[in-house]
Amino acid sequence: MREKGENHMRFDNILLIAALQIAVFLFGYAFGRRVGKKEGIAEGMSLLPLEWRKKLNETGICPMCGLQLNQSRNCDNIHSRD
């Protein structure tokens, strides 16, 4: 095994510290990304029904099946019970 000089040892230490710093950053990044992904999916799922309802009210077309609501007559008679 070759003997290492003082400069060489210092360079080795810099390499090791850099690797450690990147490893800490990687841990934080990977953890944050995975947690963020799960949170994003949960948030998206909770917002989706509201978004669909908004689209339905605006266009009168069901966003799931594409069926256009009959706007000319009141089918379910919900507004004329009396």
Partner: protein
């Protein structure tokens, strides 16, 4: 003169050994991927060599061992171990699973070569990660691409960490491996492109 020193000879033999082992590992990798390369119409050195792939690989491996046998064998064992990790649940001809073969090879290498094996393992892992990152767009068929499994940034950062750790243990191997990897890919691309032009 500086080129007559033992240090220079040590570097030169090591770099030659790494270069030759790079070609051997590339041939082995192309042998494993020849079916997928045929589907994707990618150039493949093993199929280009036809019947000569195995003899050439063994010849180059022997030459690499003449230059620096510790580097050559440790790099080969590492590439074998890293390659087998990709087939974790597949049963190998030896009767062991992929990860079991990898573990046996790594343990054997660490017992025999110690730090040299560790640095070889780290640089092979770095190259594998880098290669997967580069193939991210084109690797739609292979789902065991590490950039798919880990994420692109994670893949890049892990490759950098492994490279730095290899440089910590053996900077000649770290720098030599990265340079020879790109050199070999470039040479093979030129050769295969020329061959493709001649045949068509």
């Amino acid at each position: 003169m500086w080129f007559e020193t033992s240090e220079f000879n040590y570097l030169l033999t090591k770099v030659f050994s790494i270069f030759l082992m790079g070609i051997v590992i590339k041939i082995m990798d192309d042998y494993m991927d020849q079916d997928i390369d045929a589907i994707e119409n990618q150039p493949n050195i093993y199929t280009a060599l036809e019947q000569g792939g195995l003899p050439y690989a063994l010849l180059l491996f022997s030459l690499a061992c003449i230059f620096d046998h510790i580097t050559a064998v440790s790099l080969f064992l590492s590439s074998f171990a890293v390659g087998m990790v990709g087939n974790l649940t597949a049963k190998m001809p030896s009767g062991l699973y992929g990860y079991q073969e990898s573990m046996v090879i790594v343990l054997l290498g660490l017992v025999i070569f110690k730090i040299e094996m560790l640095s070889s393992l780290l640089i092979m892992a770095a190259i594998q990660l880098w290669d997967d990152l580069m193939d991210y767009e084109s690797d739609k068929i292979r789902k065991n691409n590490l950039a798919f499994l880990l994420g692109k940034v994670e893949c890049l950062l892990l490759a950098i960490i492994f490279f730095l750790l290899t440089a910590y243990f053996d900077y000649t191997k770290a720098i030599g491996s990265i340079i020879t990897m790109h050199l070999i890919l470039y040479i093979i691309k030129i050769l295969l492109d020329n061959q493709y032009k001649i045949t068509t």
